[in-house]
């Protein structure tokens, strides 16, 4: 199937070239980070995790969200998702690759990273995170590749793939639960110490991941003519709406406990995120996220609006932006501010940090482009292409 990567329009090659340049450029910045250490970043003694780990967290969610296509297809025999399920699986592959890279660029001593396997520490949630992420990557590569090959040969996928698919459904929930446990089991970080963290992670993943998938598929439809299918889009949008409602609901639950109990530890991080003692830039973003979340719901809840060809992408984009700010920025900053002495240390990612993060995203985009190119090539041959 790899031969599908070798032929394409000029724009395809230009896109790959662009990504490679981006990767090379940010690779240079990463080399500088290797030499000068994480002093290049905006992180500090008080805010010791930043953009890298928050992006890791966000993209674990994107990876897990493939299950929103797989579960209806295999548990409920919802046939309409069959055409685009491969894109979800391949997006999960790209997302897990990005997660791994985000961890690597965050390490102070990356050449020692295999210590996690050489000296496994079963008491550490990170150990399990490593296990579930590599497992999930392997599952999606195997399942994606095998089913796509079966489609190319116009046969049914082999029977042994079914148990793997069921396993991958459970596994998807596990990766984001374990990622939430990284945070939710830490004493003394008020914003994270909440039992609803894993549920909140999953709900936010199950709306933002499929929303990102749909946006990318709309782009693919414009570029190649591949149609994911009207009914499938409609169903997936419904799933997104439900997940987003649950996501917003869970956040409101946090707000209730924090502010009705009046316990400073619970309320302060949230007050800080939104009211920004001393004018923290993140408050503007958090208010924007809240506004975008509500606006996206306003556009997605009425069926007449969400089925509109122009409104749907805009609403999904708002949703992705809102959930990204919540999990990709607010989560980490809220966890570290105030710090362990109830003081405020500002965190602002530096240019180098953002460049390296963009480089990791470019690697993800490259993996995604190549995998999707292959899938589109196969779909084109099997005439399962335009709606």
């Amino acid at each position: 199937m790899l031969e599908k990567l070798l032929s394409g329009p000029k724009t395809y090659y230009l896109w790959l070239l662009f990504l490679l340049c981006l990767i090379a450029g940010s690779g240079l910045v990463y080399l500088q980070q290797l030499r000068e250490g994480l002093s290049l970043t905006g992180m500090s003694r008080d805010v010791s995790w930043g953009l890298y780990i928050s992006q890791f967290t966000y993209f674990v969610g994107v990876a897990a969200s493939a299950v929103m296509l797989v579960l209806p297809t295999y548990f409920h025999h919802y046939k309409k998702f069959r055409r685009m399920i491969i894109f979800g699986e391949f997006m999960a592959v790209a997302a897990v690759v990005m997660c791994a890279l985000f961890i690597v660029v965050d390490l102070g001593q990356p050449q020692r990273m295999l210590n996690v396997m050489l000296h496994p520490a079963p008491s550490s949630v990170m150990f399990y995170d490593m296990l579930v992420l590599t497992g999930y990557l392997a599952l999606n590569v195997v399942i994606g590749w095998t089913t796509l090959e079966a489609e190319r040969l116009e046969t049914e996928p082999p029977r042994w793939i079914k148990p793997l698919v069921y396993l991958s459904i459970l596994w998807a929930f596990s990766i984001h639960t374990v990622t939430a446990f990284l945070y939710a089991g830490i004493p003394g970080r008020h914003y994270w110490l909440t039992a609803i963290m894993a549920a909140r992670f999953l709900s936010s993943a199950f709306c933002s991941g499929p929303a990102l998938l749909l946006l990318l598929l709309f782009l693919v439809r414009r570029l190649t003519g591949f149609d994911p299918g009207r009914e499938a889009v409609k169903t997936l949008t419904t799933i997104i709406v439900y997940a987003m409602c649950v996501n917003v609901f869970f956040y409101l639950l946090e707000l209730f406990t924090a502010f009705y109990s009046g316990i400073p530890g619970h309320s302060e991080p949230i007050a800080l995120l939104f009211a920004g003692h001393g004018g923290h830039w993140v408050s503007r973003w958090m208010w924007a996220a809240a506004a975008m979340a509500l606006l996206s719901l306003a556009l997605l809840l009425p069926p007449s609006l969400r089925e509109h060809r122009a409104i749907l992408p805009a609403a999904l984009a708002l949703l992705v932006a809102a959930t990204w700010i919540d999990k990709g920025l607010g989560l980490l900053i809220g966890g570290f501010t105030p710090n362990m002495f109830e003081e405020i240390t500002l965190y602002t990612p530096t240019g180098s940090e953002i460049t390296i993060a963009l480089g990791v995203c470019a690697v993800g985009a490259l993996v995604l482009s190549l995998l999707w190119k292959m899938a589109l090539g196969v779909k084109k041959e099997s005439r399962d292409f335009a709606g």
Binding site: G37, L38, M43, R45, S48, D106, G108, L118, G188, M340
Partner: protein, 257 residues
């Protein structure tokens, strides 16, 4: 076997080789033909602990002096800004004991500062979260770091409720004289986490921790499980508190207020 099958099998076995060969390094332990043991002079305890008689400290400079002793003893670099490295330092009551803040504190509580260092907890979250075992608890209750093994993931810094840990954002040698102040003790390298080690290297040769020695009896150090030890006798005779007791970490550093 067709060509495809061969390539698949070759790839899998190469993967297994790389993945499987690595852990055998550990099995090579037991290289030295001799025997290991404690130094005869080594101080021993079931559980090391510290008691700070804060009433006997008058001014912030008293603590700053001890922090300097600690810096010199362990080659702790002095770095300005938020990416700094600290083993022992001091701060106001409200920051050291944020759970115990009083709206109308007495004059001494309001104006005094208190020392901060690693609490060497009985139930340390940093040890729990460390993915490589680089941070561990020794038999006698010291929470230590193996700087050789630390991968610099900083999970322990997120995990520590006391802000006791510092990450080497920069190469610490750039901020130390050459040779470093204490040539008998190593420095750290860029990209690892460090903190107070209760002077394990001094206890091993029969000496009290550097700050304790320099404090003229204002900081007590000894076995918390021995009712006759200096710290225990002081705790029995005075009201004392620990930092953030509600978190269940059970710190080994007590403050007589």
């Amino acid at each position: 076997m067709n060509r495809r099958g061969f390539i698949k099998a070759a790839g899998l076995s190469a993967f297994a080789l790389i993945g499987g060969a690595a852990p055998f390094d550990e099995a090579l332990a037991g290289i030295a033909p001799g025997r290991y043991g404690r130094n005869e002079k080594a101080l021993r305890a079931k559980r090391w602990g510290m008691v700070v008689k804060t009433r006997e400290f008058r001014r912030p400079e008293d603590y700053a002096f001890l922090a300097d002793v600690c810096r010199k003893e362990h080659n702790v670099p002095r770095i300005d800004g938020p990416q700094n490295v600290k083993w022992l330092w001091h701060d106001t009551f409200a920051r050291v004991f944020p759970d115990a803040v009083n709206d109308y504190p007495d004059e001494r509580t309001r104006s005094s500062v208190f020392p901060l260092l690693c609490n060497h907890c009985d139930n340390p979250p940093c040890v729990r979260v460390c993915p490589t075992g680089a941070t561990y608890k020794t038999e006698d209750g010291i929470v230590a770091i193996d700087y050789h093994r630390c991968i610099g993931c900083r999970f322990c810094m997120a995990g520590c409720p006391y802000g006791a840990r510092s990450f080497n954002f920069k190469d610490p040698r750039l901020f130390l004289p050459d040779p470093p102040p204490n040539p008998a003790f190593p420095t750290r390298m860029i990209g690892v986490v460090e903190k107070c080690n209760f002077c394990a290297e001094r206890l091993a040769v029969g000496r009290m921790p550097a700050c304790v020695e320099a404090s003229d009896g204002r900081i007590l150090f000894g076995d918390l499980e021995d009712p006759e030890s200096g710290p225990r006798r002081a705790l029995a005779a005075n009201y004392s508190i620990r930092r953030k007791p509600s978190l269940g970490t059970r710190p080994g550093v007590y403050y007589i207020i």
